[in-house]
């Protein structure tokens, strides 16, 4: 049955429709692969029993003549999405034992579409991290390892568990979230496809909040078509999220025409970094050549405020986080650590419940919002944010999409950047601008590094034009013909 774990969603969908495969079989093979991959620590809560029960219910629905667009497809859900009655941790100790009494809109949409839940995936605590080293439940290992090098590598973050599960072939696809690159960077590090749609495309209702003006849900998948299928099922207008966009939902899969003739692709000169590995630059040039060969017109553009995106982000995101995370007070849910009085109970609970990176960001956020510093930091960052968004608006007057690398390096070993917050933050240098501007972006695996590790290219598009994003991504995917897979060194004999 192991070959079933190599299917894409679109392939499985066809076999299921023809009756040549049941959801039970498909789900069993993934549950088995998941049980063999515990060493990777990709799941906080593996849910094999729930998965098999949902698979059987799906087979019954299909037998009864009704099948949703994801009918019978086994998925992993990032542990940031609230799932009714099922432990939801956000990778944090402070949500100890929390079983939400409600379902997030995105996961509910997936169940309505017929999907099956394999489990809840591990992640950086409250989605704050780029390496999955900040999870209370321990780091996730990247299924990939360097050629002739058995050092464990980070899967990227914060959606590292979701990316590892898809790359390791034990989930067909996974939900993820992206506040500064948390879908696209782990996708690049694991040879998977990860997209962050336009802000407002997916409902944030029931998604544990990090930075509300930046957070967006999106899928991690094995190919671009699956990504389009998944996003179509996840996205919806939701009155329960005041920032949910009431716009038509296009057929993203239909956008994969393979035809980009005449499309104008921007290449921003500010994305060339000092000290960036030569192979990233080479891959980018390769991507440019592929798109030109496919008939696109390549245009040099300038996004002049790019270098200010990261420092602005590290004001805006922690400020919003410090406000959002104020709710963890040991009263209504999660951890409580007793103290002599109410204030001490709050302080003990939050000291014990939050890890080092979350504490660091809550403190930074509290500082930049505090009396006397608000204008110098928070207001300044909001003005820079306007300039970054304006850069894109002006660029999209002349181009239809933008091509950049997804991340400034391939996956790195554990501990490499753990002691230097700023070095860690630089991982997101190519992804953060799209969050600040609210624009859609996708990472597509496009080649291997000298060590044999996956590298990604990022395609950015104008707001609510995910169709162009997917169309260009499909062309990059076809040209790159990325078929490499990690060796399954983690498998324990059954």
């Amino acid at each position: 049955m192991s070959e079933l774990t190599n299917l894409t969603i679109s392939q499985a969908r066809d076999l299921l429709a023809k009756g040549e495969l049941s959801s039970r079989q498909l789900t069993e093979s993934h549950v088995e692969a998941m049980a063999q991959a515990t060493q990777l620590n990709a799941f906080v809560s593996p849910l094999p029993d729930v998965a098999l029960e949902m698979a059987e219910a799906s087979d019954s629905r299909r037998a009864g003549g009704s099948a949703g667009p994801l009918e019978g497809i086994p998925l992993a859900i990032k542990d940031l999405f609230c799932t009714k009655g099922t432990l939801t941790t956000a990778g944090s100790h402070i949500l100890n034992g929390f079983k939400p009494p409600y379902e997030s809109t995105v996961s509910d949409n997936l169940w309505q579409a017929g999907a099956v839940m394999l489990g809840k995936t591990n992640m950086d605590e409250f989605a704050m991290g780029s390496s999955n080293e900040t999870s209370y439940f321990g780091p996730v290992q990247n299924p990939w390892r360097g050629r002739g090098d058995n050092r464990a590598l980070v899967p990227g973050g914060s959606s590292g568990g979701s990316a590892a599960a898809v790359a390791g072939r034990f989930a067909m696809a996974a939900t993820a979230t992206d506040t500064g690159g948390s879908i696209r960077q782990p996708a690049a590090f694991t040879g998977t496809v990860g997209s962050k749609p336009t802000y407002g495309r997916c409902s944030r209702w029931g998604v544990v909040a990090f930075a509300s003006s930046l957070d967006q849900a999106g899928p991690i998948t094995r190919d671009v078509r699956d990504n389009a299928i998944m996003l179509g099922a996840m996205a919806s207008y939701d009155p329960k999220d005041s920032t949910s966009a009431n716009v038509p939902l296009p057929d993203f899969e239909a956008a994969l025409t393979g035809d980009i003739r005449g499309l104008k692709i921007g290449v921003p000169k500010e994305y060339v970094l000092d000290g960036m590995p030569g192979e990233i630059e080479t891959l980018w040039q390769q991507g440019i050549a592929w798109l030109r060969q496919a008939g696109a017109e390549i245009i040099d553009i300038s996004l002049p405020h790019t270098k200010y995106a990261l420092p602005a982000y590290y004001i805006v995101a922690p400020a919003e986080a410090s406000s959002n995370l104020a709710r963890y007070d040991g009263v209504r849910f999660g951890l409580r650590v007793p103290g002599g009085d109410l204030r001490e109970m709050y302080e003990n609970t939050r000291a014990t419940g939050f890890g080092a990176e979350v504490r660091r960001r809550v403190l930074i956020g509290t500082y930049v919002l505090s009396a006397g510093y608000y204008d110098a930091y928070y207001l300044k960052a909001q003005k820079i944010r306007r300039l970054i968004a304006r850069d894109f608006t002006e660029a999209y007057e002349t181009v239809d999409a933008i091509l950049t690398p997804s991340a400034p390096s391939a996956a790195f070993p554990f501990g490499d950047k753990a002691d230097d917050p700023i070095a860690m933050y630089l991982n997101d240098i190519f992804t953060v601008p799209a969050n600040l501007a609210g624009l859609p972006g996708i990472s597509v695996p496009a080649g291997l590094s000298a060590e044999g590790l996956p590298l990604g290219l990022q395609i950015l598009a104008p707001a609510f034009d995910e169709e162009t994003m997917f169309r260009v991504a499909g062309v990059v995917e076809q040209a790159a013909n990325f078929t490499a897979q990690p060796e399954q060194w983690w498998k324990v004999p059954a």
Binding site: K99, S213, P338, L342, E347, A351
Partner: protein, 95 residues
């Protein structure tokens, strides 16, 4: 801008996070490093730039002033670390 131990203690108090005395110094160094890195934003003249709080220039929607749900006391309090008679319980606040 660099922050000192006293400032870290003050913001930790504002954030209601207990920080041990021996952690204040290393935290001050860490936070100062990040704040100094952020300071490069001052290179940009933003005098004429309006701040941006949301990516969509949309007016928040109104909904009808009607009851949409409720009566879920049991579900809402089910996750509380401590409770009594359908209420959340906290340490005594009034002496």
């Amino acid at each position: 801008m660099s922050v000192d131990k006293a400032t870290v203690a003050r913001i930790a108090h504002l954030a209601r996070i207990g920080v041990r005395d021996e952690e204040l110094e290393p935290l001050a160094a860490e936070l100062s490093g990040i704040l100094q890195w952020i300071e490069q934003l001052n290179e940009v003249d933003t005098a004429e730039v309006p701040p941006m709080a949301s990516v969509h220039d949309q007016v928040l929607r109104w909904r009808g002033d009607v009851i949409t749900d409720g009566g879920e006391q049991e579900e809402i309090t089910a996750n509380a670390p401590d409770g009594e008679n359908g209420f959340f319980a906290v340490p005594k606040v009034i002496e």
